[in-house]
Symmetry: C2
Subunit: 338 residues, 2 copies
DNA sequence: CTGTTAGCGCTTTCAC
DNA sequence: GTGAAAGCGCTAACAG
């Protein structure tokens, strides 16, 4: 391995001078700089970050913890985050928590162990608070994305759940739907809670009756919609929902498949809408009407906030950025009024 | 920051003993081990990887360099890679090269700088050979995925291009297509070359004439299919293709959009097939008939090979794994025989 | 402007 | 089984 001393020897200067050149110190004679740079070139010297980090305490390494990179929503977040990090000279380690607290903890501990400079974190649920505590204890800056954590007050970038649900519900209302089912996730995920609350509020505001049986919960990890669909379809005609609102894209796609398995036509026999696109290419041919959150921006803005913290630009109170989503009307909602 | 010395003091042992406990050395008295572990717990000590890496030269950090995480093909690769790495106690840094050699070089240099343990690498093209040289010079193990590099003999996991093209072509032939266009990428990408060669071979074998004008190239980065579609459509009827084979998913989707823009119906007026799904969810409603490569396996097997190298399990000759793809017939090919 | 010294947190080596 | 000393590659702090 070529070290700073090899370069120093080659350039006939001290290691310190080489260090100064690497770090673009301004108080280096042009002549020396050139000499050192030549030696660096010649020996193909690349500085050792571990050694540097041992002293400086920074690693130019950021951690992105999401539940599943495979979900296009998170893929876009990852891309936004990486682009932003790259611009600022950072690299990002990514991890899939799979909504699993144990995996999440392991990743957080790894991050601490690596003296990672900061964490961009889509928590699995409210119990992620414990993991946040670890970060706080070790003074590692973090920014939450997509999901809040009960009782944690921090920098965060999230979608506007209330507004998004309203858009979806209004669309359904306009098309004459009144019996709308909500297929949602676990209670300890903030999204789920907020979307459910918004759903209830929208129904109340429209003065439509809510049958408790319409609100069904699924794990976000092992999605089993078959039973739920069966359950819906076996409700007496008069209380059977005419539309389903799924609170995320995987839930939406699974519901779509479950309906197809039972040969229930979308949208003729059942309308379906969900949060976020199931493909990273919005123009990709599709059936599903969705409310699409600006995932790329969630990632890049989240990273922006994180880097602000790290580089000390912004040390003031936690900042919360709430992003609006876009309703993309396709063909999964039947117009009952026609 | 809690260091190994703090733990040592707390447990009334030497730092060395703590180090042995952390590293699960067998020659530690059970009693001491417990004492130390208690101290670790109490102080919430997490070892500093930078310090450790400075000595041991390993970082438990792997680099995944792909062109774009946003492409579902690479998303799946990333997931496969991360899963495998995680199992073995490694973390992965991901980078999007955007088919850009400069970005790629920067990432490679960063990897070296970080003493990354290995690189899983989908190269931008043949000129990535220079970047491979850097890795070789610094003794960093690497495995190529998805694309070969002219003149580089190394561990690699790729799809079977010839077989895949054959499957696609046979499907088109069966449906009566003879004038088939090939929309492909740059010449210095191995995939592109091999797929083109396989296309030509398939056409020859079927004894169909190839009009040179049917073979069109696009950048993989800024895909502009409008002009190409215009060009195809303006060919005299008799030499106008009835089907297009796009050599990747983004090319395929862009072609789909270009056709739609011109109100050309798929498949009635033009058939279209491509490599790889445009959504990570294969069941997602779609039009496109594709040949879907096992991307997850590409990532996990690639990572497997890499870890084998790193951990010295396999130091023998380079291994090449060639994976078969699956033809997924949907609705983008018109049956001319009906 | 440049060099010397010391030390970051850990582990290797060797001694006990 | 355990500890003391030395040093990994780099840079902060000081001296010159």
């Amino acid at each position: 391995m070529v070290t700073i001393y090899d370069v120093a020897k080659n350039a006939k200067v001290s290691a310190m001078t080489v260090s100064r050149v690497i770090n673009k110190s301004p108080l280096i004679k042009e002549e020396t700089r050139i000499k050192v740079e030549k030696a660096i070139q010649e020996l193909d010297y690349i500085p050792n970050r571990s050694a540097r980090s041992l002293i400086s305490k920074d690693t130019k390494l950021l951690s992105l913890i999401i539940t599943d990179i495979t979900n296009p929503f998170f893929t876009q977040i990852a891309r936004g985050a990486e682009d932003q990090a790259e611009k600022m000279g950072y690299q990002v380690v990514f991890s899939n928590s799979d909504e699993n607290m144990a995996k999440e903890s392991a990743y957080i501990r790894s991050s601490v162990s690596r003296s990672i400079d900061g964490v961009l974190f889509a928590p699995s649920g409210d119990s992620s608070a414990d993991n946040i505590e670890i970060l706080k204890k070790h003074g590692i800056p973090f920014v939450l994305i997509d999901r809040e954590i009960n009782g944690i007050h921090s920098d965060i970038v999230i979608g506007n759940n209330k507004e998004s649900v309203e858009q979806l519900m209004n669309h359904l209302f306009e098309y004459g739907h009144q019996r709308i089912a909500l297929l949602t996730g676990p209670e300890d995920v903030s999204n789920t809670r907020e979307r459910e609350a918004a759903y209830i509020e929208a129904m109340k505001e429209a003065d439509y009756f809510i049958d408790e049986r319409w609100i069904q919960r699924s794990s976000l990890r092992d999605i089993q919609t078959d039973q739920i669909i069966n359950y819906y379809m076996e409700l007496p005609q008069a209380s059977r929902p005419t539309a389903i609102l799924a609170t995320n894209n995987f839930l939406g796609v699974n519901t779509m498949q479950s309906l197809r398995k039972r040969n229930i036509h979308i949208p003729k026999e059942m309308s379906l809408v969900c949060f976020d696109d199931p493909s990273p290419i919005p123009e990709y041919d599709s059936l599903l009407t969705v409310i699409s959150q600006p995932a790329y921006e969630l990632g890049s803005l989240g990273m922006q906030l994180l880097l602000d913290r790290i580089e000390g630009v912004e040390t003031s109170a936690p900042r919360k950025i709430v992003l609006s989503a876009e309703l993309i009307i396709r063909h999964s909602v039947f117009n009952l009024k026609l």
